[in-house]
């Protein structure tokens, strides 16, 4: 019997449990919360708050006991796939292991119950931690100044573009355009618009890099900024970055580094050294803040001297022991500086997502300089190994690497290759990438009649999370695969074999993939229907 008919005939336990929201459970009068006794003289509510300002109809929140509540959410949690259960090679998201140490230290009451308005004198530990984190990020980025305030990558982007605007304004220049490559992540152009600029797309060349001629053509004095990620969303390092920086700087624009792909180059190459003026970090990617099902994140920015005056406030300042006037026994003193006349202001409340800072700082402390370099080296090693493994399994004919062909012997660069250790011709690598790579499912779609989406859904039945699909847009039927450094070789092998197995299966019966998934808590969901008649809340 085919998997499909079996699936139809047989529901797994989870599939049998139909989705019931917490609003459908419980009974009037049930409660988990027991209120502390009112220990003060009780006064009539009307005397305290006039009835007309008070609530008419109370919110219809659920009424459940604590055991009901716990069971509901524990069982709900099992309907998620997660990183602690299996491989999660979601490209551009850096789904690396989340050490539990970070949850422990972030949960220490001295961090977790610290009020954001606590006087700096009584929050010295927090400010010292933020200072240390800023210094570490500055060193990693190769840029002198850091603001931890942005809440996530795209928030950092917005900060970056607003900084660019402030920078040009200060110089009395009115610029109107921001350049983004057609490979850019959606947040880049979206950010540009929110910052009041016009988006101008720059093309991609045959090597997957920025099309220099196109860039030259479009780079004029109306251009405020070029937003780039390097390695790009194709997982390739743009070898022309120096030239690109020159072109951009020559027209007086800033160069913005989207740091989502920083996991490829830590300790290997620094955006600041490449010529970038502004960098955002995704602490929830490179620095392993758990992704939480879609946040929280944190998107600190690092900037060059010329951009520094405009940084969001407050800024953390450190007074050296010497200078401290008796404030603390030979200890440096930290403070928050709000007096920043040229600052773009605040992007949000308070000092940013401190809880994320604690985690990422702990991560940096654990790894140290060598450990961080190791991270990028192994991240790149794992990606290249997986790519090569897929090649060895003959998968790359149906899933062709986008760009990334490695120049072969003869075309300079690789002479050393001739001194190759295990020197068998076919061991010579054909394809290369940084920490992630893009495959195109176009041939698969043509020959096997299954789409990248079908492949992704069938992977779910193999117990792995699919890669990012249909991004970047420049690649047809794209699969963006990022294994990260924390996966074992065995896991990469299993994944490669799953892909090969699915393609083999599809050659025999494409319906299986088209009907996938079968073993998940629910089977393939109708997203079109959801958008057609939106049901966005439980009806009570």
């Amino acid at each position: 019997m085919s998997v499909q008919s079996a699936a139809g005939a047989y529901e797994t336990a989870m599939q049998r449990d139909r989705a019931e929201t917490i609003f459908m459970k419980g009974a009037p009068g049930r409660r988990a919360f027991v209120a502390p006794a009112i220990d003060v003289p009780v006064r009539p509510l009307d005397d305290l708050i006039p009835a007309r300002l008070r609530r008419g109809r109370e919110p219809r929140l659920p009424e459940v006991s604590e055991p009901e509540l716990v069971r509901h959410y524990v069982n709900l949690s099992r309907r998620n796939f997660d990183l602690d259960s299996g491989f999660y090679p979601l490209g551009s998201c850096t789904m690396k292991h989340n050490p539990r140490l970070h949850e422990r230290v972030a949960g220490l009451p001295g961090h977790a119950r610290l009020h954001p308005f606590q006087e700096p004198a009584r929050a010295q530990g927090a400010l010292e931690l933020m200072w240390n984190l800023e210094r570490a990020l500055s060193e990693i980025a190769g840029l002198p100044h850091v603001s931890l305030q942005p809440s996530a990558g795209s928030h950092g982007e917005l900060a970056g573009v607003l900084l660019t605007r402030a920078y040009h304004d200060a110089r009395g220049e009115q610029r109107t355009k921001v350049l983004t490559p057609d490979t850019a992540h959606g947040t880049n152009p979206a950010t540009v618009t929110m910052a009041g600029y016009e988006v101008v797309k720059v093309g991609t060349n045959a090597d997957g890099g920025v099309d220099i001629d196109d860039l030259r053509a479009k780079a004029d004095t109306d251009v405020a900024c070029l937003m780039l990620t390097n390695p790009s969303t194709l997982g390739l390092f743009d070898e022309n970055i120096a030239e690109i920086a020159k072109i951009v700087h020559d027209v007086g624009a800033t160069l913005y580094y989207d740091g989502a792909n920083l996991n490829a180059v830590m300790g290997k190459s620094r955006p600041g050294d490449m010529g970038f003026d502004i960098v955002h970090f995704n602490l929830h990617k490179t620095f392993t803040q758990p992704h939480g099902g879609g946040g929280p994140g944190s998107g600190p920015i690092a900037v060059s001297d010329r951009v520094e005056p405009f940084l969001p406030h407050p800024v953390i300042v450190r007074t050296e022991p010497a200078e401290t006037n008796g404030a603390g026994s030979g200890q440096a003193v930290f403070d928050l500086d709000h007096d920043r006349p040229q600052s773009i202001g605040r992007l949000r409340g308070f000092q940013g997502n401190y809880g994320c800072f604690v985690r990422s700082y702990a991560y940096i402390c654990s790894l140290g300089a060598a450990g961080l370099r190791d991270v990028s080296e192994v991240a790149v090693l794992n990606a290249n190994y997986l790519l090569a493994k897929l090649g060895k399994l003959g998968v790359l004919d149906l899933l062709t690497p986008a760009y990334g062909r490695v120049p072969q012997v003869g075309d300079g660069e690789q002479q050393n290759h001739s001194h190759h250790g295990a020197d068998d011709a076919d061991a010579r690598r054909q394809w290369g990438c940084m920490h992630e790579f893009v495959l195109s499912g176009a041939p698969m779609k043509r020959e096997l009649k299954i789409r990248t989406l079908d492949l992704a859904k069938r992977l779910l039945d193999h117990g792995v999370h699919p890669p990012t699909v249909y991004f970047p847009l420049v690649v047809e039927e794209a699969l963006l695969i990022e294994p990260t450094e924390t996966e074992t070789r065995e896991t990469l092998d299993r994944f490669a074999e799953s892909i090969a197995e699915i393609l083999r299966e599809a050659r025999e019966d494409p319906e299986i993939a088209r009907g996938a998934p079968y073993t998940t808590p629910v089977r393939r969901l109708d997203e079109a229907a959801a958008a057609r008649r939106p049901v966005l809340r439980e009806s009570l």
Binding site: A35, R78, G293, G345, G349, R523
Partner: protein, 465 residues
Amino acid sequence: MSGYTAVTEADLDAMLATIGVDSIDELFSSIPAGLRLGRELDLPDGLSESEVYAHLRDLAGKNVSAEDEVCFLGAGMYDHYVPAMIDMLLGRSEFLTPYTPYQPEVSQGGLQVMFEFQTAICELTGLDVSNASVYEGPSALAAAGYLAKLTNKRGRFVISHGVHPHAREALRTLSAGYGMAVDEVPLLDGVTDADAWAAAIDDTVSAVFVGQPNFLGAIEDVAALSAVARDHGALVVCSADPLSLGILEAPGEQGVDVCVGEGQSLGNRLDFGGPSFGFFAARSEHVRRMPGRIAGETVDADGRRGFVLTLQTREQHIRREKATSNICTAQALNALAGVVYLCWLGRRGLVELGELMVQRTAYARDLLGDVDGVEPIHSQPVVREFAVSLDVGGLDGVLRVLDRCAAEGLNPGYPLGRTYPEYGSGLLVAITEQRSRADIDRLAVVLGRAVAAERSERAAVGASA
């Protein structure tokens, strides 16, 4: 090698051979030699887990947290008790470690949580639709401004001076890009000056913004304020304290178009300011201009009920430069804490907690009113927070009072002078269910003593001068 990576010597050799290179460095050959960092990063060496723990515990020890002192600080974030069950759920790998539910078939847990969250926020605010969270409170208010701008293309915002100072500033910062004028309306006896409000609003106004309760703890007459704005076709945005909404009329019933707010007080820790979450609810006509993720109901291939991310044509990954917002990673885990907290309180608990705060706050307000050198700043009704003025000659005096109280293990509140020069001697005092009557009585004694000490010292200085 750290314990987080797994490449052994044997692995490395085998992997390099499979790839067809001799060394890891070769894999980085596409980085021009000149751009390679020829050295190790200038950072300390790595540490073992126990050493890192000790270091971060020592840093934590240099902070005075709400676990260490009796804390009456509020001003936007509140020291409410976070039920232990929430830590357990947030700690579950299944909630903690996945990312945005791009593959709904293996993300029903997270998606249903979003759907439940949206339902709870709609109930709380009395509005039709909610998204699944934005970053936090102040930027949520700014995001509402952007929605208004997309809606009516007008060029001016009017905001009450009672709105949280960080939110007012975030609105200015984030609307600067698209060139908005932002006018503020002053307060009168603690609430938005109705006449000035009316005067400030005309048909050029894109949106108006009010805080409920406002920064001084005072309850605004949102219905009245909205009416004026609606007459001029401006959108009404209310930034509300979610835990006050068990007591206060739902913004949705008061003519509000968009209700946003800071979600920290709903089951989230203080965390020195974040991460928490912002909520964003609106009338249904605005749904296609809302920012952020929205979960919707659908069915699977066999007809089972399921949930997916929907209305994605609003979002950056589909619409790119035409998106209604650039937000991508939001605050899913914090929103989970929020909805679990609301379910933990439950329909009655939300009201009971509100009443407990109202009663204790009234008690505290009266008690402090009788303390020498402490005067009320306004006479408006409040829910959980109130403003007083200390007769200590301004912000510096207030800060010294805070130091004196700190020495006695008590934090009396937020020094208003930091953000409201006109209330230079102001102190904003917040009450939660964790501040018992005994704590409040102690507040009166300790604060009274500190104010007295400060005054006599200033008198002494004055005399000697």
